[in-house]
Symmetry: C2
Subunit: 456 residues, 2 copies
């Protein structure tokens, strides 16, 4: 059984990267290539994205090395010549990485990361780059929408059991935390990323005891300071009465019941009735925690209908970004050996050349528009979004801690125009192409048409 | 940087499993508990599931051990007493696992796996069990639908770049292979699972050369026996003419061009025109490979409209199960210390007791219906679907190799009634509840209502 691969990036690859690399090697093509990473289209209900996943990618790029076992496996495929495999054995990633810092808000077509490296290296990391940035960005974006919908109520990531694998579970915990969640149920994520962990009990706990109140009492005994009692195993109102009884018993011992949790049924009606019951019994400080199928739409729905919920456990639908379970993210060659390049395939535009994203703000500090231009351009007073993170394969900035990124998301989100924050994402921020980029784009396109379609 | 966790299952856990375990420990509750794993509802367009993920889960259960660093981390949470942490330090999984073999077709509500173990052990593995079986089963099911739609044409997994993480990418490669794909682009999966790997070139390869035909020539030189040329970087018809030229050049050297690939545009019209061009030039054996947004619906659509495609690269939409990116899979306590248990939460039924699934066939060998009954029942001549895989924490069967599972899927799929194979999944196989189970279910429900709701 292999241990997978946070630390073994070099085989996280589609075979064609290796076949292309073998041909580049044979052709002695080693000039620098620049690849741009960008999202081609907004999925439904999206009008912004939150960049995430860069930190982990940089660690992987620094550790990119083929191991002996990898090369032995590749040799068995019968595709690769010994000199190419020897070359792979000594390969490191020596390139440059420019990227938006994690937590930056960005829009479709904008390069969020550019790699410039000898073409074999830049090509070999394609799958890794897309995979790592895509899933974290997708979840950070989804989670930020949930935070927005919750209007200040606390959110906890409950997704691990139904994330698409364990690696995804870790990325969901990290990305939702940086997007504004207060923590996760995921213990491994808590350990690895130092994220606060939360959790109390499942229905199975209740049903394993002879009765609900005995289960509540046992739990309050074990965790007198932290008890959140799940009250809907049999009947949520009867459950509330049991919780009130246990709250009284805790009070006699000098403790306070922390909360109750609802996980099913009509959470608007139930939360109102449970709140009333708790308040009538002098338990105004006991919080109501809700879980069960929440995402930004359901949070918005129950709150708009008056639900009395203090915090939400947000699980599966956030953890797989259920309404948009993939982004159309692409990593495309835009320049080779100083020559800007593009493909013409139907309906898929790639902007040529190494680029920069210039952000303009209005007088109130909201984002007015972005301009995608060439890296060499200047557009004062615009902010430039792509920054240099790696030079010659070495990181040139200290890793950011999660709290820094979390604060950036909060600040960035405040700069998003209010009309761009509705859940249906109707209003989009304007993204322009600079005159210089547009001119170069047309020139390259014209050259290709003359050369490739003229000789057909 | 941590190495994640194929081999570190013990922290793949929601915190509440540990808080519940701490309370069970304090209460000296160590009797055997049985948990059932099942899917509560069909997602849109699904009427069957293909069991997958068991092999990896069994490996994890055998290796379930808290490490010193795990216990130190848990200690920092301030929730757990030293005697409980000591207990965790010496914990192994000593339970029984009964399950459907990988590749078995099953239906909603049916237990696909049951764990019986001392309650702490059975509870602690909840997240791991759901996470591992859910994603593999979801992808095997999606991939089987693609295989069905392809009517014998070959399918290759191209999903890795946009799977939800690297772990997911591996599970997608394995699950799609066992469901009938012929291989994957995922090199790491090829190495770990010994799955055939496929792949040739990307658009970036073409654009890095001064012209398309120079790129084709270089690739044919490197891989004269295996060249599949991507023909749509600039214009697919011009690209086909270039490929024909290179095919001629290969013929002069005694080789044959293997194929061409289309990745965009109207693939029905294009594949027909490309096929004609190839045939007119005596290249009837050159295959047309298509990729770009394929899933079972798009495969079915292009084939029904006459596309001339020999093989498909099936990527993102299969790899995230885009139209059903999660299954409502649950792991519920059904028996504790010999006492059948259930919850009553609105709209969520759990069948009590340790169970068996009995499958009945019609005279033509098709599945007629299934009956969910108690483990102790007998219903000859029905086949029983749950088999014992682990006793006292040890595996009692040899691991199955992927080819065996692949053959099982093929056989199982032949037994699915033809009217249950349409992509809209309109017709469902009938699943009954046995009289004994129904009687016990009602008894337990009545007891709970009397005990829990009578005292409210």
């Amino acid at each position: 059984m292999e241990c997978i691969p946070e630390c073994r990036p070099e085989l996280v690859i589609d075979l064609y990267q290796l076949t292309m690399a073998a041909s580049y090697f044979e052709q002695k093509m080693s000039a620098p290539a620049t690849f741009s990473l960008f999202i081609r289209a907004y999925p439904p209900n999206r009008n912004f994205f939150i960049a995430a996943g860069l930190e982990e990618l940089l660690v992987f790029l620094e550790n990119f090395r083929y191991q002996k076992g990898d090369l032995e496996y590749l040799d068995t495929l019968g595709l690769f010549k010994p000199d190419f495999l020897d070359f792979l054995g000594s390969l490191k990633f020596t390139g440059q990485v420019r990227a938006m810092p994690e937590g930056t808000i960005f829009f479709k077509d904008e390069p969020i990361l550019e790699v410039t490296a000898p073409i074999i290296e830049a090509q070999l990391v394609e799958t890794l780059v897309i995979n790592m940035i895509n899933v974290s960005t997708m979840i950070a974006t989804k989670a930020a929408r949930c935070v927005n919908a919750a209007q200040g109520r606390r959110l906890v990531d409950f997704a691990l059991r139904r994330t698409q694998g364990i690696d995804a579970g870790l990325k969901v915990a990290r990305s939702s935390y940086l997007a504004g969640f207060i923590g996760t149920s995921n213990v491994l994520a808590g350990k690895i990323y130092n994220i606060p962990v939360f959790g109390t009990m499942a229905h199975s706990y209740i049903t394993s005891f002879p009765s609900e109140i005995e289960a509540f009492r046992a739990f309050a005994k074990a965790f007198p300071r932290n008890a959140v009692l799940l009250i809907d195993t049999f009947d949520p109102i009867a459950g509330t009465r049991h919780a009130i009884k246990v709250a009284r018993e805790l009070e006699e011992q000098g403790y306070q019941l922390r909360g109750v949790r609802l996980d099913s049924g009509d959470l608007v009606d139930l939360s109102i009735r449970v709140r009333e019951l708790l308040d009538e019994n002098g338990l105004k400080d006991v919080q109501i925690f809700a879980s069960g199928g929440f995402d930004e739409f359901k949070i918005d729905d129950v709150l708009s209908r008056g639900a009395k919920i203090d915090a939400f456990g947000v699980g599966t639908k956030m953890g797989v970004s259920a309404d948009a379970p993939y982004f159309d993210m692409a990593y495309k060659l835009v320049q080779y050996d100083g020559r800007p390049v593009m493909k013409l395939s139907t309906g898929k535009v790639t902007y040529v050349g190494a680029k920069q994203v210039f952000r303009f703000f209005d007088d109130d500090g909201f984002i007015d528009h972005d301009t995608i231009g060439l890296k060499s351009e200047n557009h004062p007073p615009a902010h430039t979004l792509l920054q240099t993170f790696m030079v010659s394969g070495k990181r040139v900035r200290d890793p950011e801690n999660l709290e820094t990124i979390k604060m950036r998301v909060e600040k960035e989100f405040m700069k998003l125009p209010p009309q761009c924050k509705t859940l249906d994402a109707e209003k989009k921020v304007r993204v322009e192409i600079s005159e210089e980029l547009e001119k170069l784009q047309q020139e390259v396109k014209q050259q290709i048409i003359e050369k490739e379609l003229g000789e057909g």
